[in-house]
């Protein structure tokens, strides 16, 4: 629950969702109301999407699809589970899901930090373009599919075909990986990678909570970047 009293409270049980999102879109760095609280989200889709201001939004309950989508600058905390595509296409800021996240968490996100306390299901970080994603539980199949940039850090296990068709996203998994996708390989964990992992965990507020030496690194073998007829079966 909230540590600080909110400046503005929206009860989605009585106020239409569009009014909340419109009010959030009007807010800016100069607004007086910087701490927002959202009650009774009840699994609604597209809660707190498209914010472009350094606000803090605390959502008290479970949300549906695309929560915190396109976020820029805001800190959005979901005190519950999130449906498909949480923080999809995030540009910057911080999104924290206290429960589990459904499929395609952080899809195509360009920047910022997505922290999931529970598990994330399939395709976590699909086509990630610079976001950092930390999952304290496990991730489902096809996670980081076609990931281009950023880091996916998983405290638990990863499902089938991790990092399929991966570009330059960096993957760190502490537990087991069921299988690696096409062109994704295990890589040496050098000091620079340990430092990078430490930095990301510090940014997530998790420095010291896990032993960095327990993680394995996975990345692209870079064999599928350009078409080559010898690789035709892998495409």
């Amino acid at each position: 629950m909230n540590a600080v009293m909110p400046d503005t409270t929206f009860d989605l049980g009585t106020t239409p969702l569009r009014e909340l999102n419109a009010a959030l879109h009007k807010a800016s760095a100069e607004s007086n109301a910087r701490r927002w609280r959202v009650l009774n989200p009840n699994g609604r889709h597209a809660v707190a999407v498209g914010i472009h201001a350094p606000l803090t939004v605390e959502i008290e309950g479970n949300v549906g699809y695309y929560c915190a989508g396109m976020n820029a600058e805001a800190s959005i905390i979901v005190h519950g589970n999130a449906g498909q595509g949480v923080a999809e296409n995030m540009m910057s800021g911080f999104v924290h899901v206290k429960g589990d996240a459904s499929q395609s968490a952080g899809a195509t996100a360009h920047g910022g930090m997505l922290l999931i306390d529970g598990n994330a299901s399939a395709r976590c970080g699909i086509s990630m373009k610079g976001v950092d994603i930390v999952v304290k539980g496990s991730v489902g199949h096809m996670s980081a599919f076609m990931g281009q940039s950023g880091a996916l850090i998983v405290f638990g296990d990863a499902g089938e075909a991790l990092g399929d068709s991966l570009y330059e996203a960096k993957l760190f998994v502490r537990g087991t990986v069921k299988s690696l996708g096409a062109d994704c390989i295990a890589k040496e964990m050098r000091d620079e990678h340990k430092a990078l992992l430490h930095d990301k965990l510090t940014a997530a507020g998790l420095a010291g909570s896990v032993d960095i030496s327990e993680f394995k690194r996975y990345g692209s073998a870079r064999n599928l970047y350009n078409f080559h007829v010898d690789n035709v079966d892998a495409y």
Partner: protein, 299 residues
């Protein structure tokens, strides 16, 4: 798209509210399927009796049909009319005879399902209208499944609405689309199965029926389906004693479940579950892909 809901009660005290809870869940899924809706409810049953769920045109004279089915030994079969559907109860020993009679003499009446406890209702239109037409909120039972359809693979017709009966006291609802249903339908037809529609989901239902006719348990039949059914699917299957859930290996279609001491509930989206008692403290989870789940009543 399409929406699926399912509710399995552990707490007998809620049985009188099953229909009302299922109706609320179904209506929340209107956005996922506004073309048609349907549901199966597992209510009371009498030993040795079978309930036939029948469908006919609006205003059909079901009482006259029941009169026509009466025999001196049993009298006129019990009849319950709800909108375009009626549930008629006949001795289980006479089921085949009654079905043959209906097929020969009343082609205007379709048998949509049969079982000791299962009743199936489905119709084109918005889920709220369908729930109201059949007075779903007034129904009581131990469990039920429902479906809202956005048609993709075949026409918007009542026959194409879900659930599809897969056998006595068994039915299936499907979200997704199968890509090998035409070939599979031909193979199953060769094995003697019959199909009413061009619908892909009916093929999935027929496939499970065929597997179980060959001796497979429902769990085994679902397991085999992972190999033989090509395409996207989330299935919820109702049986006399419970319900099962299966998602394709890619988990293309959404599914969320909630479990408390009182019930197990399924929804295509979490929104469908928010009206359930104690949902705030329920264990909410996504069923894993390619994994058969099953909940059954203690016998």
């Amino acid at each position: 798209m399409c929406g699926i809901v399912g509710l399995f009660l552990k707490d007998q005290k809620l049985e009188g509210e099953l229909g009302a809870m299922l109706a609320s869940m179904l209506c929340t899924m209107t956005g996922r399927g506004p073309d048609s809706a349907g549901f199966a409810v597992y209510g009371a049953g009498a030993p040795g009796q079978v309930k036939l769920s029948l469908r006919a045109a609006k205003g059909y004279d079901f009482p006259a049909l029941a009169q026509g089915l009466s025999v001196p030994a049993d009298g006129v079969p019990a009849l319950s009319i709800r909108g375009t559907h009626a549930v008629i109860e006949v001795p289980a020993a006479r089921e085949a005879q009654v079905r043959a009679f209906l097929a020969a003499r009343h082609p205007e009446v379709a048998v949509v399902g049969s079982g000791t406890r299962m009743e199936i209702f489905k119709e084109v239109g918005l889920p709220s209208a369908v729930a109201e037409a059949f007075a779903l909120p007034s129904m009581r039972g131990t469990h039920g499944i429902g479906h809202t359809r956005m048609a993709t693979e075949s026409a918007v017709t009542t026959a194409g609405a879900h659930p599809f009966s897969t056998g006595t006291d068994q039915c299936l609802v499907h979200n997704g689309s199968l890509s090998n249903h035409n070939g599979l339908r031909r193979s199953l037809a060769y094995q003697g199965m019959t199909f009413e529609t061009e619908n892909d989901s009916e093929v999935a239902a027929g496939y499970l029926t065929w597997r179980m006719k060959q001796g497979a348990s429902l769990g085994d039949a679902l397991e085999a389906g992972l190999k033989d059914l090509d395409g996207f699917f989330t299935f919820v299957v109702g049986t006399e004693s419970g319900f099962g859930v299966l998602r394709d290996p890619i988990a293309c279609k959404p599914a969320v479940m909630a479990e408390t001491d009182q019930y197990v509930a399924f929804g295509s989206e979490y929104r469908a579950l928010i009206g359930l008692p104690g949902i705030d403290t329920a264990r909410v989870f996504e069923p894993e892909p390619a994994t058969v789940y099953f909940w059954e009543r203690a016998q």
